[in-house]
Amino acid sequence: MTEPFVHDLAPARPPTIPGLGRPLRDHEMVISMGPQHPSTHGVLRLELVVDGEIVVDVIPHMGYLHRCFEKHCEHMANYQQVIPYVDRMDYVAAMNMEFGYVVAAEKLLGIRVPERVEYIRVIMAELSRIVSHLIAIGTYGMDIGAFTPFLYCMRDREHVLDIFERACGARLLYNYMWVGGLSHDVPVDFAERVKAFCRYFRPNIKELNDLLSHNKIFIERTANVGVLPQEVAINYACSGPILRGSGVKWDLRKNDPYSVYDRFDFDIPVGRGEHGTVGDCWDRYMVRVREMEQCLNIIEQAVDQLPEGNVQEAIPKRVRPPKGELYLRTESPKGELGYYLVSDGTPSPFRVKVKSPCFVNLSALPAISRGAMIADIVAILGSIDIVLGEVDR
């Protein structure tokens, strides 16, 4: 019996693609939406296994921005020194990162902060949420091909960054919320400026809706794309606008309140599948737009109720933290941000583990993008809204 003829010209293929779990079939191709790409919102490598234009699988590779945050925390002299590192995780919404950390650290150390500090923290966190959503919406429009809304969002963001700069001197990475208080009190014209911004920004949301949200081409690109069913979202522990876009009315500010959020009256927008299926990209995008309006409501109420006080009176000079551990979660613009702090009685933290919402939300990407087209991957990734600083820490 003759040996079967082995074609010499057949190229050697790797036996298995890691992450895919099987070798490539003949009609499939691997494209790398590589670390440098205009739409991956940072350095993220998406390995796409495609069959023509249809994506068979998405294998994300991350770690390009890993800066060893957790290891650094273990070598800090005390809990205050961690805060600049915390800023740099989700650098787009740094106030929310700080907020989560200081609330967790204060609970662990048993510190109560004055009311004024709580209100200012809420105002800053909500302004930061608006900033983060503006970036998400602007870059999402740019990914879909509409270049103009991005610049309108940046223009509006500049007003908020001016407010931040007047309060703490920095536009992007603040080091403002300290364990026990704030680094500076707000300037004297803070309340008027914040109110002026709210008055200025509300009509701009309507302009954004007219330009982008209800544009027929935008709806066609995003409706029925990347549908994330409710059970899948909960099993993947998705949170934030992703979970609310799939129809689950869950927001930590209402369902598990921290700080003074239970004193404000605001609504939780939820995806309803107005232009397609519940849980598609348009729903997630629209949840963000509507959340910005609710943020304005919270800010206006907080500014009206802002009490007097000394923002630095509760900042501890020298702390001997009790032994213990704590997991506390807060609502950041990207989702549920969790801090797991472990203290062994020494002044420096024993373990600081960050449960990053972008990391968890990104893990759902392969599940919802099988069968989509390459252009849809860009749309789905944009609707998940990741910041690589937080994914990689």
Partner: protein, 341 residues
């Protein structure tokens, strides 16, 4: 103009070469101006300023500075790229765009070549651009460029059908393929323009032509082949320096060519909108160029307003929306002509 030059120089080859260069004298300054204009238009639509400093007034020398920079760049060709095709591709694209200018009358006194099948020649020769784009995408040896080139080929070839069908409606009304004759048939005040004839059929024909020509030149909302946020650069990802400048120049040349065809076929070409007032060979050139620039402005306006269509939605629009409507236009016009005679 040809007769004037023939009398002056009496060397036929020289005369024909000069006639062929005249559109280049328009296209190159126009491309330099259009890049600056696009940056200014996009800037003002986006609530910012655009180039302000290069040159003294509103950065008018910006494109010149860009060209000087591009000329100085190192000519990098990827080692695994197909060198001959890679180098040839920009020239093929430019040749395809520029060859259409042969049959476009800039004024009653100038048309590059008096073809009595003018518009048919234009449709045919503008398809060479597709070959150039495919060469660019293939020769780059880059998966993303290849995807961009394949999408571009599919898009341009599909949208040629509604373009041709809407042009066919105009030809039925004009009765001739000769571009100068089509221009002369629209002489008089602006209601003689073909866009207002056989109302509403040619009006929709003009709309179909304008939208489909956007797809022919790869402009948003049909700019999938060079979709920046998806494919980095599509077919021109690997090109840098003067090769990239040539591809860019041919894109603007192509934009003006389709605007010029739209002007000639539907909006009166070099005819003045006021009939005999402000008409003549030089005024004709002025009217023609102004109408062309108005269409360029509309194309730029749309680019910065609309998102882009996904490639399968683009094909859907071509085959299931544009083509049926252009058939309706064509049958409507044909029926009208038949019943009127």
């Amino acid at each position: 103009m040809k007769e004037f030059l023939l009398e002056a120089l009496s060397n036929e080859i020289l005369v024909y070469s000069l006639m062929a260069i005249v559109p280049l004298l328009w296209v190159i300054p126009f491309a330099l101006f259009a890049v600056w204009w696009e940056r200014k238009i996009s800037a003002h639509m986006q609530d910012r300023l655009g180039p302000m400093r290069t040159g003294s007034w509103h950065g008018w020398a910006q494109t010149i500075a860009d060209i000087l920079k591009l000329i100085q760049k190192e000519d990098i060709i990827a080692s695994a790229a197909d060198r001959r095709l890679f180098k040839l591709a920009p020239y093929v694209v430019f040749a395809g765009s520029y060859a259409t200018y042969a049959a476009i009358p800039f004024s009653s006194a100038y048309v590059g070549s008096e073809l009595n099948i003018g518009i048919f020649y234009i449709i045919a020769v503008s398809s060479i651009v597709v070959i150039g784009l495919l060469m660019a995408g293939w020769a780059s040896n880059n998966k993303w460029s290849l995807l961009g080139a394949m999408r571009s080929a599919a898009q341009i070839v599909s949208y040629e059908v509604p373009v041709a069908l809407s042009i066919l409606a105009v030809i039925m009304v004009a009765g001739t393929l000769d571009m100068q004759a089509i221009n002369e048939a629209q002489s008089g005040p602006f209601w003689n323009w073909f866009v207002f004839q056989k109302f509403p059929f040619l009006f929709f024909g003009a709309a179909i032509y304008i939208v489909s020509s956007l797809a022919e030149v790869n402009r948003t909302p049909f700019d999938i082949p060079e979709a920046e946020s998806e494919l980095v650069g599509g077919y021109h990802t690997e090109y840098g320096g003067m090769r990239f400048a040539l591809l860019f120049l041919s894109e603007y040349a192509n934009m003006f060519a389709v605007s010029a065809v739209a002007t000639t076929l539907f909006f009166g070409g070099w005819n003045s909108p006021l009939g005999d007032v402000l008409s003549g060979p030089w005024w004709g050139a002025f009217w023609f160029l102004s109408k062309g620039m108005a269409f360029i402005f509309v194309q730029m306006w749309l680019r910065w307003t609309l998102p882009r269509l996904r490639v399968d939605q683009l094909m859907y629009v071509a085959w299931k929306v544009m083509i049926p409507f252009s058939f309706v236009v064509m049958f409507g016009v044909g029926l009208w002509i038949m019943l009127a005679s």
